[in-house]
């Protein structure tokens, strides 16, 4: 399978050259797993898509329409939903009739090494610092040049992810993942009120933590605090959860919290 794409429900692999998604990154997206013909955590995925559309004052397509389109993708794949503001005349102003455009596309499930799950991953610290924009923070919009530039910083295939700091030097996220640390029974994850993308798996972990007897703490996370953690974890909807094995000169061994959280994310669909 290479790509399979539906544009507004119609099989196609092209979009209008004057789509505002291309012109300005005027849109949002979701990446999720399809497994055995189902779309993982669909209720949460749709709620997040809807919230992100609202942040851009973009009409969100109906859940039922998107679900129907997702069902036309291969039963096991990575599904991506892009919602853009559609074609527009030149200029930043939005014309009244600019409706949302849906791009629903499938790509192959990635083939990550099993060691990423069994032993953890090697992670680097990126040089790029995330800028601050409270109006867009948390939203998975199509303005992703910071992620692209950060991901360009390394080519070594042995490095699975790069962590990003904000201008103050606090840890925010990975280029494609959210980050958690666990120390003395408390799960810490960065506050994303000024930069970063608040992913669905991050929300699930925050919701599920109590079931594992863990308190949660969402606040600025200093690099020093992260380095002192008992376990450090990365999550997103495609990788699930990886424990960090090597980062910034420290090595962590397999941790019980990471393993239990990973199982919980895999076993449940809420």
């Amino acid at each position: 399978m290479d790509f399979m794409t539906l544009i507004d429900g119609i099989p196609s692999d092209v979009v209008s050259a004057n789509d505002r998604g291309l012109l300005y990154g005027d849109g949002v997206f979701r990446t999720l797993k399809r497994e055995g013909g189902g779309s993982r955590c669909w209720a949460r995925q749709y709620a997040k898509l809807s919230a992100d559309c609202a942040a851009l004052n973009l009409r969100c397509p109906d859940s039922a329409i998107l679900a129907t389109e997702l069902a036309q993708l291969p039963p096991d794949c990575v599904a991506k939903i892009i919602v853009t503001r559609g074609p527009g005349a030149r200029g930043y102003a939005v014309s009244g009739d600019a409706g949302p455009r849906r791009i629903v596309t499938a790509s192959a499930l990635p083939d990550y090494p099993s060691s990423h799950y069994m032993n953890g991953v090697k992670v680097r610290l990126c040089g790029l610092r995330l800028g601050s924009q409270p109006r867009l923070a948390g939203v998975k919009h199509l303005n992703r040049l910071e992620n692209v530039l950060a991901r360009m910083e390394w080519k070594d295939a042995a490095i699975a992810e790069g962590l990003l700091l904000d201008e103050a030097g606090n840890v925010i996220e990975g280029t494609m993942s959210n980050v958690f640390s666990c120390r003395a029974g408390v799960l810490h994850t960065p506050d994303l009120g000024r930069c970063g993308v608040a992913g669905v798996q991050r929300d699930r972990i925050l919701d599920f933590a109590a079931e594992l007897g863990l308190a949660t703490h969402v606040a600025p996370l200093a690099l020093d605090e992260l380095m002192a953690a008992d376990e450090v974890m990365l999550c997103n909807s495609v990788i699930g959860l990886w424990q960090v094995r090597e980062f910034n000169g420290r090595v962590w061994n397999g941790g019980a919290v990471s393993a239990r959280l990973r199982s919980l994310l895999e076993d449940r669909d809420d």
Copy 2:
């Protein structure tokens, strides 16, 4: 004329749905005027395109190829050149063969009221504050959601532009223009090292100022300083130069510096 578009030199109005320009805003653009069959300030436009491509580590198309494509557009139009990193597999990492894609498109010249040039324009202060990202500041890239959100703040057609501040409250730019103020023979324009787009007309004004006996000062520009200016001006490659008539409770009458700078921008092509 509605739109006329060449994609990599071939007439078409669609791009691949997996173009990284759409997926991540991974590209840059230029907007320029064609007049009487020529592309205005082409040497500067190309130099800026080339510098912006370099900022994203994107290969810039040859000047001769772009010039040939521009020559196929209507003799009098607004030309837009978009360079994206082209189609890519899912994920932020750039695959080795990702080449640049050229989108060259024409749209009709806008029909701004003559009073914008004769009497100046009414401008508002936007609520959105520009975030800071030194790695992208100055570059006219495709991540333009800040501009889109700022432009959404007003619908009143009598307001020609909105000015944007940074987080510190300094004036940076308009949603689609650069800003200059003139006070006691000195032209002031904001430093764009942390946010904003450094446009070609801004560079021209900075280069031409000495010919009008004006000193230039590129530095953070406080809102108070702007309000105390003798004249305030907006520029871009489509509007040329507009003097600000009304902004933030103050009214300015026609100014000599604005008029002379406008003529210079119009008369010359360097």
